[in-house]
Symmetry: D2
Subunit: 98 residues, 4 copies
């Protein structure tokens, strides 16, 4: 847990909340498919849709990070802060950009 404070814009919070609620609905849908004894590959297909939906959530947050946090650091006058951000950016990109 980081001590850094929130930076996600109000509009993005609303969008993320909507996307997350939709994913909750998709998960309930999979539970129902299990109860209904559906074919395993039909269920796997639905799991794949949730992956896509979750990727959408990740992208909104990644863009927020780039526009706000990374930009702020890159525009900073402090050279060492600029240097630091590249390692951080690479870590984040290769860890989270699924």
């Amino acid at each position: 847990m980081s001590a850094k404070k929130g930076c996600i814009t109000r509009e993005r919070k609303v969008e993320l909340s909507t996307r997350l609620s939709r994913i909750e609905g998709q998960i309930k849908g999979i539970k129902k498919m299990l109860d209904d004894d559906r074919y395993c590959l039909d269920i796997l297909q639905q799991v794949s849709s949730i992956f896509e939906a979750l990727r959408g959530v990740g992208k909104v947050i990644m863009r927020n990070y780039l526009e706000i946090c990374a930009t702020d650091a890159l525009q900073s006058k402090r050279k060492e802060r600029q240097e630091e951000i590249y390692g951080e950016l690479m870590d984040i990109i290769y860890k989270f950009a699924k």
Copy 2:
């Protein structure tokens, strides 16, 4: 939607249901992080944990498919059914094994 009937074992249904409920909890957790105005990368980290949890769900279903559906087809005496299954297997593996 496939007309094929369910093939997921009772034990796996229970396991999947438990995993899915846990993911629902994780999603509610992210909503709370948004409300609490938490730092975007902390939230992205949690999204990443849900990807991992969802991968776990996918693996249980993939294994069920291999053990039951694919095995049944590969042990079939009908040559053409055996041939057919390889294309199906490749599709499934490269589409769903995330």
Copy 3:
């Protein structure tokens, strides 16, 4: 290194060899782009094409494994060998199916 002997069919060996030679050519192409001082994202695009080409190589080998090695094990009369293969299959699928 495994002591198991080769199982790749003659046709697939020819196909794989052709694909690998093409990838060698693509790598030389990237070296030339560096010499020609080309724009970094144009080069990254080419690297991405090699990923695709390499994925093609992996798929040919994966299919060979499924058709020959995995099928042989799954059709085996020995129950314990059948059980063993599922763990192996899952490992291989989730490790190599990129």
Copy 4:
């Protein structure tokens, strides 16, 4: 093909060239494994190593892009150029960060 001129630093060109030569060697190694009739999963393992090596190449170029091209755009005084870069960055990150 982009009309933009090269931006990869001299040091990175040397590093990339070395990495690419090593990958050429790995590809020749796989061709030899085919000739030697090696076990398919041993070969698949080697293909996987090339994926890793290629990922290393991609990361060097991605970092060059971030440090030079993206930073230049983000520090630009032109607001519209800054806006433009976020879409470009997202595209690149989700397309190339494998």
